[in-house]
Amino acid sequence: MQNYIIKRIWSALVVIFVVSFITYFVLMLIPGDAAQLILGTDASPDKLAELRNAMGLDRPWIVQYLEWLGGLLRLDFGKSYLYGTSVLGLIIDRLPVTASVAVLSILIAMVVSILLGTVSAIKRNTAIDYFSRSVMQIGSAIPTFWIGMLFIIFFGLKLKWFPISDYSPLSDGLFVHLRSLTMPCTVLAIGEIGMMLRSIRTSMIDTLDQDYMDMARVKGLKNKTIYFKYAIRSAMIAPINVIGMQFAKLMGGTVVVESVFSLPGLGRLLLIAVEQRDVVLLQGIVMFITAVVVFTSLVVDLIVMLLNPKIRIRTRGE
């Protein structure tokens, strides 16, 4: 088990390293470097060379990469050209918004898909099962930004239940904060429900088909006991993995949702960085988000390991 944990942590670190490599080199391929961005396209070659020298852009790329990587390890993400301040500071400023959105929407998605998935697995091929299978299909086919626009039209404009693109931070009060996040989070959750529901339903069906379920029935256990004491527990293992994966998708999805609902979060910052070609800022945000996602999935994996007796035993035998 210890070996497994070490292996898993090691592979997470390797992935982060590869990600940093890809991020750095993809963004290095962008036509026009930082010096050009700062001075504009009509700058004289002399001035460009001077600034490049001052910024260290004329050194070999491997040196620049290692320096950048070293900076990341010391939590120094560099300085944004656009804002002129530290990238990490900019990220931390906007993190609470994105974190609120991500956590709330994953909670909504989890509750809905566990309920619906379990019920539809138990009542297979009934009306509720067909309903949840349609939710699965349609949920994963609706683009987040479109459902966001529809929500704005319907719940914001027609019913006036929620404010339209007006974010209130937690300091305005919990209720106001949650109210301003309800629409974005629900919208984001709808995109997640499709996959989660599918995996919970499948895994629940698999569990219900196991011999020990028949055994429990033969023993005369009540349905309620069978479903909620035995089936759910073993059926939840696979979906927890999916939830970890969905968290990654969700962090990507916040870009779109924050843009639709004008939330001042990381996704918005990322979009600004892309539009303004602020490479340092972009590298910083991408690395930050990806690292969060990789570590989340690491934690999820370790939790699954602790929950799943099969893995526990197998790894012990190694």
Partner: protein, 282 residues
Amino acid sequence: MKKSMNKSRKKWNVSLAIGTVLILAVVIVCIVSFIYMPHDPIEMNTTLNFLRPGANESYILGTDNFGRDILSRIMMGSRTVLLVGVVSTAFGAVIGIILGGFAAMGKNIVSSIIMRFVDGMMAFPGILLAMMLVLVVGRGEKGSIVAIAMFIVPTFARLVYSMVLDTESMLFVKAAKSYGITKRRLFKKHYIPLMATRLITQFSSSIAHAIMVETSLSFLGLGIQAPNASWGLMLNESRKYFLTYPYLAVAPGIAIVLTVLGFNLFGDGLNELLENGKGGKR
């Protein structure tokens, strides 16, 4: 699984039928768009802007802020969706299959570097990698295709990698190896046909995925650029006006949902049909 076995061996299923119909519909719209469109999808006519659907008989779905016919733009957008969706998936699939196959059959330092690289590509959440690649290749159709192809690569690479490793211990593979078959021939003649079912169903779902990414990129202004039409771009263009004219946000969204649904259902249905026996399970 035991219980659902009885009703297996269905030749056709609902998902497959609906999926086929939806995909055919998009393809037909796309073909028709080359022959006939009610209006020029690019020509602007500001005297006729913001016509609501039904306000003018020749503009069935109304007109946008520039007075362009929405129906014609939707038809034109179907070309983009199919082009970018299919081409980028094909690109990504080919690269992914080669990388995955190479890594699985090589089993040396190169193959483990390839797989770590693929892991890294997969670790980028959502459209982050695509957004970065768009900056490099440039916005527009070409940029979208490249960016989305790279988004698709890791899925196929991992799929092929794990499938090859699974088949490695099968008897016929051992037999073929004992005849001294070359690795490349083994891969082409034995692994590919064996994996074909999974690859085809994955291809269909990946097209759905690619379309989602394309529309998202276009919606963020990083994908297809005006005056070219894409459904995501149409929604992006409507953002300034949709609070006053909500109808602008309806038609392109429905088009996206139906198309993505079509490819997803087709993939699911095909999976069910080819791997029969799991009826109604997934």
